[in-house]
Each structure stands twice: as C-alpha cells, then as structure tokens.
Symmetry: D2
Subunit: 342 residues, 4 copies
Amino acid sequence: MNALPPPPDIVRSAYAELIVTSLADARHFWVDLLGFVVTAQDASALYLRGYDELTHHNLVLRTGPAAALGTLAFRVRSGADLSRAEDFYRALDCPVERVPAGVTRGIGEQVRAQDPLGFPVSFFAAAEHAERLQQRYDLRRGAEVARLDHFNICVPDVPAAYQLYSSLGFGLSETIEDGQTMYAAWMYRKQTVHDVAFTGGAGPRLHHLGFFAHEPHSVLRMCDILGATGEYEYIERGPGRHGVSNAFYVYLRDPDGHRMEVYTSDYYTGDPDHPVLRWSVLDPRRRDFWGHAVVPSWYSEASPVLSLSGSVVPATEIAQAAESAARVGADGFTAPPRAPSG
Amino acid sequence: MNALPPPPDIVRSAYAELIVTSLADARHFWVDLLGFVVTAQDASALYLRGYDELTHHNLVLRTGPAAALGTLAFRVRSGADLSRAEDFYRALDCPVERVPAGVTRGIGEQVRAQDPLGFPVSFFAAAEHAERLQQRYDLRRGAEVARLDHFNICVPDVPAAYQLYSSLGFGLSETIEDGQTMYAAWMYRKQTVHDVAFTGGAGPRLHHLGFFAHEPHSVLRMCDILGATGEYEYIERGPGRHGVSNAFYVYLRDPDGHRMEVYTSDYYTGDPDHPVLRWSVLDPRRRDFWGHAVVPSWYSEASPVLSLSGSVVPATEIAQAAESAARVGADGFTAPPRAPSG
Amino acid sequence: MNALPPPPDIVRSAYAELIVTSLADARHFWVDLLGFVVTAQDASALYLRGYDELTHHNLVLRTGPAAALGTLAFRVRSGADLSRAEDFYRALDCPVERVPAGVTRGIGEQVRAQDPLGFPVSFFAAAEHAERLQQRYDLRRGAEVARLDHFNICVPDVPAAYQLYSSLGFGLSETIEDGQTMYAAWMYRKQTVHDVAFTGGAGPRLHHLGFFAHEPHSVLRMCDILGATGEYEYIERGPGRHGVSNAFYVYLRDPDGHRMEVYTSDYYTGDPDHPVLRWSVLDPRRRDFWGHAVVPSWYSEASPVLSLSGSVVPATEIAQAAESAARVGADGFTAPPRAPSG
Amino acid sequence: MNALPPPPDIVRSAYAELIVTSLADARHFWVDLLGFVVTAQDASALYLRGYDELTHHNLVLRTGPAAALGTLAFRVRSGADLSRAEDFYRALDCPVERVPAGVTRGIGEQVRAQDPLGFPVSFFAAAEHAERLQQRYDLRRGAEVARLDHFNICVPDVPAAYQLYSSLGFGLSETIEDGQTMYAAWMYRKQTVHDVAFTGGAGPRLHHLGFFAHEPHSVLRMCDILGATGEYEYIERGPGRHGVSNAFYVYLRDPDGHRMEVYTSDYYTGDPDHPVLRWSVLDPRRRDFWGHAVVPSWYSEASPVLSLSGSVVPATEIAQAAESAARVGADGFTAPPRAPSG
C-alpha cells in the first residue's frame, strides 16, 4: 500500500448508526434502561449521546427492515481531511460518496466509503454541539454512559485489518496472538486503548459498540436494573475485567441483537513510544482477567453491515485460525507467566 | 419434635474449623491472598478473623490427612445455654460432648454434637477478645473480610433441616421452592438474612462459608488480585448479585477445595414479623439476579464433614427433587413476574 | 431507678414524625432529591420509607405552623410490650397516652409518652407492610436510602440520657468522654452501633435522623445531585468518615432546617460481650476520622420537640462541659494514640 | 509574541522534581502511605511512578536544604522538539540549557529553561521504560495512583500564563473569571482537562502536583489510611468534587508542605472544537461542586521554585484581583444559574 495518499487526520471514533426493526423497542433498551440522552428524535430515527458528549450524538438508531450496522463514523480534524479521506479510499478502489451536511442530523458534510474490509465508514469534521450535561447528576440513569469509546468489528483476516488501520495512522495498543497468528488487535487514535478493534471471524460484521462509563458501579447497576425489570436476558457476558485493556465491562444485546459494551477504566496511550501489550492466545486472562470462559455466542454472533447502497454486505468466512479454537500446545507462545509483559 | 427441651439462645454463627492438608498452602490462600487477620498460629493450626471481628477468630484451619469440615460453631448467649444445647441434642439422641475451655484456642468451654443432619456443631458462650482492627485501614488487604456471616450446608432433605433449625429458634428469611418441594432455605439468628442456609444435595457436606465484606469493591478487587497473581482458578463462580439475599458475591475454592464466599450487602431481618421471601425454583434470578447459569461444580461439589471422633461422615444422596434439575413446567409455581414478591 | 417496672422489649428505632411548614417543599427535598419512597400522602402528611423497609414508613412529614419533632417511634416486640411501655413511663411520672391503631396511618395501636428527657416517644408492635422494593434497582434515586438507622438527640445531661436508655435495655457501643465528663454516647437495641445517640447540648432537641444507605457511592451521589441542581446549601457537613461508628456520612438540612444523615457501613454489635469503644474528646478523629473540624452549626443548631399536647417543649441549656469547647489539656484523658482502643 | 519560533510538540506533563529536606520522611509519605511505586533510589533521590506509568518515573524526590520545586518536566514528541524548545525559550530571552541523557536518572537528553513566569521547566523526548504494573492488583496500596495528571502553578498574572501556554499550543478547557478578570485557567495537551493550571497568587510557586487515580474509592481510602495511622494532618482539603474538571479529589501536604492532589475522573477534551467551560468566580461550586468553602491555606500556601542555578526564585505578589477576595456583586458575571453552561 506504499502508493497510498496521505490519510485523513482521524480524531476518534465518534458515532455509529444502527438499523433497528422497532424504534419503540430500541428506545426502551437504549433510553429507558441504559439511560442514554436523547438529543433528537424524528419518525425514523433516534439520536442519542452519553452524558459527557458535547457533540450532537454518539449513536443513531434508524428504523429499517432488518437489524444491521448503518455506518461507523470517525471525526476528522478539519475539512481538508474530508478530501484526504475521499482520496484515500478512492486510491483503494472503494466506493466513496460525499454526503451533504444535515443528511445525518446534527452532522456536517461527510465522506462515506465502503472500506476494503467491507465496512460502511463515515468521516466528518463538523457537528452541532449539544447541551453540556456532564455535571447534571440529577439526570443520570441506567449505565450512566459518558461517551462512545470504540468500535469492535469482526474480520476474517485480522492482519489485513491491522494493515488498513495502520495506514490510516492508528497506533497498536494490544494484541492476541501466537507465533503464527494475530487473532485480535486493538488500535487507537485518541489516547485510550482503542477506537477500533478487530475480532477474527466471519466478516464484515459489527461485533460491538463500546461505550465509556466512569465507574465500575455503573456496570453493576446496569445489571441490577435488568434483573429488577426481569430483562436480564439482555445480558450476554460479564460483568468482568478484561485482560486486554484492563477495563471492567459488561456486554448487552439490544432487542435486535446488536451487541454493546459498557466499558470503564482502561489507560492512557498518548506517549509516542507507547509499547504494545501482546497477549498469548493461550492465556485465559486475555478476554477475562478472572479466567472465566467466554460464552459461545460472543464469538459467533455479530451484526451484518450495509453497503453504501443499503444492501447487506455478504460475510466471508474466517480465513485464519480461530481464537475460540486455540488450544494449549499451539506453536510459538509458551504458557503465560503470572503477569503479562509490556 | 414437640417433646424437645428448650433450645439454647443462639446469638450467631461464629466460627468454623476446616481441616486442610497443607497449612502453608492454606495460609497463602486465606492470609496472603484473601487478607484474613492472623490472631494466632501454632504447629497444627491457624486462627483467623476478619477486620471487624472482636472475638478471637472466625476460622480455624487445622492440618489433617484429608480436607473436611471440623466444626460449625455458634455463639450462645450465656453459660446456661451450654447446658440447654447439651440437653437439646441429647434429647435428639445425638452424640454430645463437653469440650473444656482452651481446647480450641481462644474459646471458652464448648458443647459439641453431631446433629441429626450429621454435622459437627459447637456451642460456646465465652471467648477471648482480639485487638480491634476495624479502623486500621492501613492494614487492610485482599477481600477485606469483616466477619463470618453464615454457614451453607448440603442436606439431602431440606425440610428436615428447616425443621431442626426452626426448633433451635432460627427465623426463615428466604426459600427456593415450588408447589411441592423446598429446594433451599435461609435461616437467621442475628439480624441478617442468614446464619445458616440449606442447599439440597448429598449430605452432610459443607457447601460454603460466607464471609462479610463491606463493599462490592472488595469482591471485585479479590478477583483482580487472583487475576494478577495468575491464581484465577480459585474463582469458581461470580462475581454476581444474588436474587436470594440481594447480596453481591463471589465464590472461591481454597487449595483443598473448600468453598468460601465473599458476601456483601444483604438486609435487616430483626423485626418480629419479618416476612419470608419465597423464590420460585423456575426464576433464573434466584441464584443469580442477572440470570447467569450456575456452574455445575457449585451444585455438585462440597466438603465432607467429620464426626466427633474425627471420621468422615458418609453422605446420603439427595432424597428430594434436585434444584439443578428443576425445569419450567414444574407444578405449583408459575413463571415469575418481573419482581419477586415478599 | 431500681424501682422501675420491666421495660418494653424494644426492637429498634422505627420511624420519626417531623413537623414541616410546607409539604410541597418537604416533598421536593425528601422525595425528589433524596429519593425516599412515598407509601402514602394525604392533605396534611407524607409517609415515606427507604427501599429496604418492609413496614409502612420510616418518616412522617406532617404540616404544622413551625418546624419541630413530632415523635420518635420505636418498634416493640409484642402487644404486651405496649403495656410495659405504659407502665414504665408512668412509673417515671411522665405524661403517657394510648393512641388507637390508624391514628398514625399504617401503624397499629401506640403508646406515647413525653419521656423524662422531654422527648415525645412512641411505641408500636404492629404495622402494615409495604411493597418490597429492595431489588427494584430500576426505581432507585437520590441517596438510595434503605431504612431508618437511628435518632440522635440533644440533651443537656448526657449521663442522665445514658441512664434512661440503659434502664430501657439499650446497649452502649461508643462514647466520647474524658476523665470527668461523658460528652456523647451511642446506644443500640438492633445489632448496629445505635438506635439512639446523645449529643450534649441544650435540649430536648432533635439533632438528626440517621438513614442507612448501602454504599458510600450513595453519599457522594447525593452531594453531586445537590451540586447539579444548585441546592448545595442543603449540605451542612461532610461527606466524611466518622471515627465513632466508622460510618461514612453526610449531613443535610431540609427546607425547615431538620438535619438528616445519610449513613453507610458501621458494624455488628450483637454479641453479648460487645465491648464499648471509648473515644477521648481530645481525639479530632472522634467526629471525623480524617480530622476535619466540625462546622459550628452542627454543634449549635437542632430542631425543637413537641409535647404530647403539641406545644414546643422549652429547651434547657447544657448542664455539663460542652464537647465543642473541649481542649487539649483537659483532665483525665491524654492525647490519643494512633488508633482507638476497644 | 508573534515573532516566536514554532513551539515544541508537547505530549503531556510527565514528571516533576521536588526538593525535600528528608528523604526518609518523604519516602514514608509518598511510598508507605500513598503507595507510589519505587523505580529507583539512590543516596540523594527517589524515583517514583504510578501503577499505570510505563516510563521511568512521574516524580523525583531529591534531598536539598529547603523544600522547593526542582522542575516541571514535559514530554515532547521527538528529538527535534528539543531544539524547538531551546529556540522557543531563547526567543523569550529565558535562561536555557541542555542536560545530557542520564543526568536525571532514566531520562534522555533534556532542555531546561527558566520560563518567563519564573518556573523551571524541562523537556525530554526519550525515557527508559519501567515494568508494566497496571494489572498487578496484588501490589496496589494507598491511593493507587496511576500516573501524573497535571501541574498547578501559582502566578501573579493569570492572563500572562494563559498567553504563554497558548503560544506553546495548549488548549483551554475551563476558566474562573468575571467580566474583568481571569482568576484561574486550565490548559491541556493530552486529551484531559489539563496538563497545567494557573491559580492566581504570588508566584512563581508550585501550587500542587495532580496524580490520577482510577476510582473515587482510592481517594476515600487514602483518607481512611491517614486516619488509621493518626497522620490525618496531611489532609488539607477534601475529599470533594470539583466544579472545574468534575473530578473527585483530595489535597494532601507532604512532610515538607508540598501539596499533592489525588484526582479521579475528569473528561475527554480531544475534539478540535472542544468548547471552553467558563465558571463565574461567584459560583461557589467552581472550586467545590458541593459548595464547601476552600480552606485559607489552599489559597495562600505554595512551594517556592528553583532557578536553573538552584537558587530560590523570589515570588512576586499577585498583580490582579484575587479569587479568594471575589465577592457577590462583582461586575460582569451574574449569579450562576443552576448548572454551568459550556
């Protein structure tokens, strides 16, 4: 990819659009239970944000015939970066389009592409601001989500995804690997563990959207609320501590099966020589620091993604060794010592 | 049992004695990792307490040839209650003996019996006091256990256990049942959810010892420590929120397989008309309020118990319907509404 | 007092009635901000409880011409204890009356007295139950108060109050004293640090009502809510850690100036030989374990109390040395060592 | 300052050097009590870091004849930025020097300057890495400090400091002001509220070093430890919630009087259009969101700073209106509404 033009200066993962089959059901899950703030609602869509978010939204829930990912949107530094994004994806022979300001409510002009991995991605430099609710403790409910933290996507070829996002200027914070295979990787633009992560599996599919909360208390409270209302089946995995990222987490599935993570803690990655933390696929703590097994659905299920024209992008089966099938005795990495090394 | 003499006035579950096969390994688990306070140690035993405990110990770890429960000890109100305990168990044709003060270090005279359920139980009215460490935050480590909270025992016939402890003056706080079967019950003398609980299963066996910690933070921290040292295999189940008791918990297994629970929260039960909370065996929230399945070992594995002469008491297979086999469609109880009723 | 008849068997401090000048303002403070559960409301009163409370209420807010304490109500074990209460206070030459069931909504027959300290006290054995909301995490708001914990009263003669409550069968958990003077004392019936505490000062006056919350998080959240709404002037003192009781706390003042405490943690006191913890008045940690000075209003301000006929009981000035005036150099106690002794 | 050369690309505030009069006393405070990790120690200095820190240290404690600030060190992106730093400060007619790698243990070549405000500042691009202890929960003690967060400095002229750091490329997150005066300002390079903040007062002096912890629990625990050991006099102010930054905090003073803050939470500031939050000096919540008064010493006391030659830089009295003297009725800003606006 050495002939690629300079990439856009991406600031962070900023919002996602999910296609949901019932706006009422989605509102119940995301607003009534999880406590997201409603910036706006119209007949076909809900625009939601966390309590710390100052831009218009972190999540668009749009009605459609079947559950899918509509787009993964990244904020870029300036308008010039929109042109860079356009050039970058065109150079990769990807479908690219300009979307005028306001087509996505509250968001300025966007460049959209179906990237080489098959995902619908958007880039914008300007957005309307919303009311600052950061200190409105009187309004907080549910998981008290602060902001979007990251996108986690299923890709059949993790090294290919790593290469693409490296060329987009993302840093690598952590991996799961052995001597032969990179099973998963976490990459960042903002100074956290990640803006995007790759989970090996049939793809393109959306594995989950990660939302940041300030305290582990919010993770536990969210589960207690779902127990109280009898809607505990929305809880798929956790709460637990991740080995990777060190974050405290819980995974929920919305009424359409979209997976979301309430994610707290993690760490600063802004130093230019920030070292990569490489986890052995044989270390049971990589996915759950307490050694709990990952539920099978977490590895196998994910949301389909839409093309720019709105059709579902067919998923390609995994092209590499599957993490869920990794076994002690695999080549390359030895059994982990008591603590991972940086 | 209407001919029974008056029972002793039991104050609370006070300490347990566990037989362990390696005092060094047990010390590593209970002291180095869990952070219990060592009141005393001699060649064959460790005497441990929580940070809030003002009496000599909550736990004796004594070396022996095989892992077993040595005794479950209850505090009684006065010396006269020792005689009542003696009479009570003799009237039930149980083996009973007086144990002079100091035979168990730090503990006054005791009455010991092998109760009708087969368990070794002890009663004492006097004990040495230990240094008050409640506010020594500088010393706190591990799970920051405050005190013993309860004994949970496996019995093949839950109603028989319920009857025995009712005749001993215990109140009933919660049950798991359906129209035909009482699968489990929680009973108290002190003003918490329980001092003793019964889990249906082969018995007599010790299911677990429950220790109280003040904050959910301690439960999470304990797991994080076990992840950090690579000893996460000691974590058997949780962390989670119980439906029964509303407590936040984690279950660990010590190097000999003895199960212990770090248990926080629960509620006040001291009112004379405190109502029983009855959970349907069909409500997945009864054992984990977040609906997570219970790991099989938690239902099947438990510690053998010793007779007064120190031999293992053979366990009798469960005589009633097993909770782990209860299925939707069982008679009597309908599917639970969204919240349990008092 | 050796000729006193046997006292009633008091279970615990159960509810208080406060006279407020505006039910709307009181409802805003106690319900909208603090999150108390409304069991019932009528034209002149609000009946509130915590989320764990199973009886009808912990607090009655009743309109009246001026802010005052209406009554401090204790639950007794049985109907026979109502007669014992009547006899006990008559033997002390106190005004006593029987109040029929339902006069206080949700509460059975009561005995009311103006006790020798001048306080209006009530005793009841029966009460209606309210819906169990303990696990309705979806409903929790504000300070997430679980139940009433204690009454703290201002008395001009602390030893006299100590004697009265000793004769009522209360245990002594902690004191503030020096060689000559008992400045404050904490006494219990239920198995916590206290049901009633005495603060030396002009009296009879109500110092505060203490309400139990399960987690320090609730104390911090309550303050953050009051910051968010701009009503931070309701915060009088704290948050902080008490030396006495070891509880984490904050003191608020309601719109009528009634003081309430959100109180978490404390410890078990149910053992018959539970030792008294005696704090030197010279130890700055006794009132705030972090050594912070107590704000002057906390020592000087308190609510007047009503007689059985509804008139304000005149307060008598303090008859002993005042804690707020205690100075290093006072007789009897030396400067504290690093940790209090049990 | 339009003739200034381009500034160095500063990554973040990285470490500070404090001169202490007793290394043993300093070690007791910073290591034994606060729980800092010791990377290295030699006869004259201790090199400490937080648990998340991957570079050699966040704090150097160096023995000297009197308490003072030795330097405030910033990490820059590359070696070329060292030259830019040199040029930048020379253009401002400041004393500047190159310090070879290793002069400060673990740190590569540095540029040092006495900046126009009188502060000793250092810049480095390379540092040795230390062992990754982020997930060593078994080692955590004290306040469980993760990393250095910010420097807060006393300056007699806040707008002058704001101009200097603007020219260095820092963003402005929050201010305290009225229509006429900027009383305080918070500025950042990394994506948090600040790397440096200015408190109006006699200067140059160091107001405090802010260290990040992950949870409010750590702030409370630190205070409880200081209560437990009887060293509560190290606590100067708090715990509390800041209005500015929204962080939960406590301020401690070390044995030499150096002030440090345990600081948790705050928020993401990485978006290019991140809006400034301007607090009125009349809003009591600006410094403590719960409206508590700031203790006088917090406004008046601070550490002297050393010149490059090691002599104390004389402090200049405040040249503008003092925040501590601001009163309701000041021009320009009206009384705050219930919540600050962004």
